[in-house]
Amino acid sequence: MSMNNEFKPKIVAFCCNWCSYAGADLAGSSRLQYPADVKIIRVPCSCRVNPMFILRAFEKGADGVIMCGCHPGDCHYSTGNYYARRRMTLLFSMLEYLGIENGRTRVEWVSAAEGVKFSTTMNEFVDKIRSLGENVRLGDLRCKD
């Protein structure tokens, strides 16, 4: 962690290739700002996001993880996000049950046309994570040296 007192969260965003990644591209070409703390990983579909990836991100020091996919019903693969939705609902519920602040994870459906929504979502999410502060409840101590 940097020494200046401003908290710079590490945020991983999984974006599906067909909608949300394109939405992020649109946010970019529309020059809609959101904090550099967000780093995007491209996946073919939200149903490719394994809970393991999310826990891994937290293990390695992420402060927030957000997953974006096509709106339900609009999945490029027709049903992927429906599975993703169930998986993430259960995972998030479990994390909350374990006492992890429930704002650290989020799912948002962002279409390729929703550049504005993408950037607003990211701004909101970063604000939320900043208000939650550093992730101390999840994460491996060894990564914090």
Binding site: S29, Y34, K39, N50, M52, A62, Y83
Partner: protein
Amino acid sequence: MQRIGVFVCHCGSNIAATVDVKKVVEIISQEPSVVHCEDYQYMCSEAGQAKILDAVKEKNLSGIVVCSCSPRMHEGTFRKAAERAGLNPYMVEIANIREHCSWIHKDMEEATEKAVILARAAIAKVNLNAPLFPGESRVTKRALVIGGGIAGIQTALDIADAGYEVDIVEKTPSIGGRMSQLDKTFPTLDCSACILTPKMVEAAAHEKINIYTYSEVDKVTGFVGDFTVDIRKKARSVDMDKCTGCGVCQEKCPSKKTPSEFNRGLNNRSAIYTPFAQAIPNVPVIDRDACIKFKTGKCGLCEKVCQAGAINYDQVDEIVTEKYGAIVVATGFDTIKLDNYDEYAYNQSKDVITSLELERVMNAAGPTKGHLERLSDGKHPEHIVFVQCVGSRCNDNRGKSYCSKICCMYTAKHAMLIRDKYPDVKVTVFYIDVRTPGKNFDEFYRRAVEEYGVNYIKGQVGKVAPQPDGSLLVQASDLLDNKQIKMKADMVVLATAIEPEASVRGIATMLTASIDTNNFLTESHAKLRPVESPTAGIFLSGVCQGPKDIPETVAQAGAAAVKAIGLLAKDKLLTNPCTAKSDELLCNGCSVCANVCPYGAISYEVVQVNDHGIREDRRVARVNNALCQGCGACTVACPSGAMDLQGFSNRQIIAEVDAICR
């Protein structure tokens, strides 16, 4: 470990204005496994690509990272460049430092730091990339169309005209489908038979089209480009080659008590029958359930009167196995059963009929020879009430939640035709909304109201009660005037909701095509791929995909044909190499992956494996690369990690996560 070259693009000033490109190069050069790193003004330019070619040769690179614009923009460009350099195109990864970095950040330090991290993530991924090769599969240049209605006929004609063989499988004795039952068509009021029959004839005569009527699809195996289909030709009991279609057998047949399917049960037909006069083929079939010969063994009259000697009681079902490259589903629709709608007295009164029955009543070849009359007593009606949305847009469980789409228009048509032919008949239409989007549709509806004086009432019919005098008492609410109405009617016509033909569910299962809860086949993308099923090589034509009128059906039929032609035109199919792959040593054979696969791409087989010295037979998953589209649903469902997605493997994504979080 790879030997990675990293190329950082300035994109003019698009990137360089906010990202300190030189600094990125300086930092990234220090990364392990990076053996080459440079920046350039426009990496996508010829000169930029040449730099990739040179570096691959000079430094013997095995992987490439381009830090530039979105991969959705130039991933293809750089993959091709890599290929020209002798590398596998899938050894390229893009770090998106324009749309996801320089364009959205203002602070140079921040943007530069992020660009470095994005580059590291791409490097981490490339380190685990493996060359991928698109597979090839051959294409059988023949299409199957399931369903011989207007959708199927149009699709078949379009495919055949493009020069490909087409088979139509129709389960009834004749092609023609629902459209053949219609009297007139909106919005131009052409006679349905007049425009359909020529198409039927054309299809039958087309040298590239082969029609299997009275046949059903029994079994489908294979995949896009290479389906194998078993078609069951049901025993017709009439020799197609000998029959001249003279019709004597039907006249002489003593069993004439079977409700006519074609006339919606409004009259009866003989046991040996052709559904309607213009049937194609004009060869009757024997309905063995109704035929006296089959029931008692005595009779055989048709055989005696047939001069052609075409009657053959010993025919059995025949299975034809054929190979196809593409399959078009055009199974059409039926109206829903009205058992849940007792309030409309459909089952109590013969004078309450569905709109499709009205079509037959109004048709000159129909049960009343085209005379508008009450089916109970043959009297001329004075007042006809039309009820809209019977079972459509229903928010309880009795009907369908969707709009059947065609009812508003055909009701306007019916009202108009009645008013035109019988100006003395009063016509009232109860509607919830009148929906008339479409070319000349609203004008059509307005003519019904304005020119023909059809009485439209926004309101719902609560009850239709048959009266002792034979009339019908219609109780309804008028929503605009907010009052209850009671009116006497002589006939009530129900705009009954349509639903997909019942057999489509079985067909969808055979095709592994996905189907929604209403039994409509699902399209691959609601907007962008509306005529393709998510299952590759399966196309959708007509109402099996969703409610449609004739013009839309024909348009979609043509679209489906074009998609099928596009497939058949290829000699070989290149398959997307980013497909799922199962590690058979880890696979449990539990089927969870197949359960979530939208494409039916996963099958199971028992193989002998050698698991570190343990030899045993195991049930393991196999991914068909021709079908897999690479969504990855299976990879997450798989608990053991046996199923992985090439190009987006677990390790690769985890490496990206690690690089970002480090």
